[in-house]
């Protein structure tokens, strides 16, 4: 009888402990799943190295990202800018051939978006550029990235701390439209 009681308690306590740790292990697994599915740097259709273009060739950011100074959206560079040089340059490389095929078939390239702000945020690239913010502030040292990754948190706290430092507007309605 005494043995039976003890066994029950032992079972229950063991169960609770295992359950609790198992729960958090499960949460960890779920978070890992989310991370793998949604938070990875997306695959790009064309393996474009910024190291070569922005780094080695020293092309200006705005040479390709033409809308950054004129609009709130940065947008992706139009293919005609790529073809401006790549009609003749490096045409033997498979990636360039892929690019040329996209252009000739008049198919737009679907780049995987890396820096993604939620849709309820108003962020104007033009305003920040005119305010003197350099591209690498928020996008990191892109010139050194063979594959672009998001290296800044892009969270509200970070935006607000920079706004605080540089006397930029701190009103909620500035960004929360």
């Amino acid at each position: 009888m005494r043995l039976k009681e003890l066994n029950w308690t032992r079972l229950i306590i063991t169960g609770i402990i295992l359950g609790l740790f198992g729960l958090f292990l499960g949460i960890l697994a779920a978070q890992t799943g989310w991370w793998q599915l949604y938070a990875q740097t997306p695959e790009q259709p064309i393996d474009f190295p910024h190291t070569k273009h922005a780094g080695q060739l020293g092309l200006a950011c705005t040479y390709c990202h033409i809308h950054v100074e004129k609009s709130r959206e940065a947008g992706a560079p139009p293919l005609s800018i790529c073809m401006g040089c790549h009609q003749k340059i490096a045409t033997d490389k498979p990636e360039i051939q892929k690019l040329t095929r996209y252009y000739n078939e008049k198919k737009p390239v679907e780049w995987g978006r890396i820096h993604n702000l939620p849709s309820f945020i108003y962020f104007s690239h033009k305003r920040h550029l005119k305010g003197g913010v350099d591209c690498s502030n928020c996008h990191g040292a892109v010139k050194q990235m063979a594959e672009v990754k998001q290296v800044r948190p892009l969270k509200m706290g970070w935006c607000v701390s920079c706004h605080r430092t540089y006397d930029a507007p701190l009103e909620c309605s500035t960004c929360h439209k």
């Binding site: 949460i27 960890l28 003749k88 340059i89 350099d134 605080r164």
Partner: protein
Amino acid sequence: MLLENIPLLHILSTLVWLLHFPLAALFIGMGLVALISRLYGQLDREHHRFRLSDLLLERLPGFKSGLLLLATLGLNLWVLRLHYPALPIPFLYWLVVLGVLASGVWLIHLSRYLFQRQFNDPFSYLIGFIGVAQIAAVYFLILCGAGLLLSPETWPLLGQQPLLYLSWNGVAQFGQFMALVPTLTAGIVLLLGRLGDNPCENFRRFTERCAVVVALPALLALPALLVFGLNTAPTLAWSWPLILLLALLIVLAALVALVLVQPLLGGGPARSGLIASIGLALFPLWVFKTIAGQAVVLTPYTLDTSLLYQKVPLEARLGTASKKPVEKEEKAPKIDLARGERVFKSICATCHAWDKKVVGPSYASVVPKYKGNVDSLKDFIRNPAKINPDYPAMPNLGLSERDIDAVAHYLLSQVN
């Protein structure tokens, strides 16, 4: 220089952390359990508690350990300074961290001294608790710093907004540390229970109960704190090693918890050795987890904070294809042919050659036109216009004025 041995320094400093944290844990854990056990013992007149307290105080890491603690902390802070020059570590920080740590250690020792001289009055308890609190507070600060290492973009702002030093990730890490501390202490307590050739059975059972009270809540909280820590870290910091280490920590903590409660459920004497060793092993795993997070974040891409928060005027910035010419430096217009040659070889050569067409026309066919007219060549390079329909448009390369000047002079020098 020393900095070239960075990988070695990284390994050394990690090893130092591996030594430092368990030591600190012993100070905090043993000190705290000793004080509380003594306090309860005094209130209840329970002699086991006194005995435990005495044993703990006896074996509390001594003066030399305290010095080692300070030295290792100082060393690692200095190494951090070397690795990350952008990270501001003001003198005040050094003072506070080391000073308070030293003070804490000294106070604990003072308290021990007083207790060992039978001064069991409130004053001794007070300074003992203050000492422990001071050491804990120092680790709160240090672990907030560890959290800070995960967000290098905030480093330049620390001067103006020092409160950015604190972070939820720091709180999480501190919580994790404070959960590991009782685990180790519980192991120590259990070991103490089996001291000597003929350990007292009741005392042993007392230590078993005490260990559970000390460690079980912390162990149950640990997985929650680990997941909290994962969530407060930037997603950039996540990596497979980090997650696997977290999983391993949780599994080991579960194991320790299970083993710890066995004695109370009639499972025979506590496996104090096992508990103590796992409790100790949790520390290196925890340190590796922290390093894993930092290793992914602290890459050259994120560490390049030189232009962060700098107001760069539109015209002077590299990257403006604006109409106004780039005029960064107005130094003496020395003709730097060497520089020109460098630009020529690295940038222009992609599309141009002297005698044949690559992408753009050969130099021989276009440069002679600008003979004697450096300025118009410079204008062209600065703002290339599409002239010849047979060739693609030359891109505006955003060269600095110096580079344009140099390469234009170089090109023309080669024509003659």
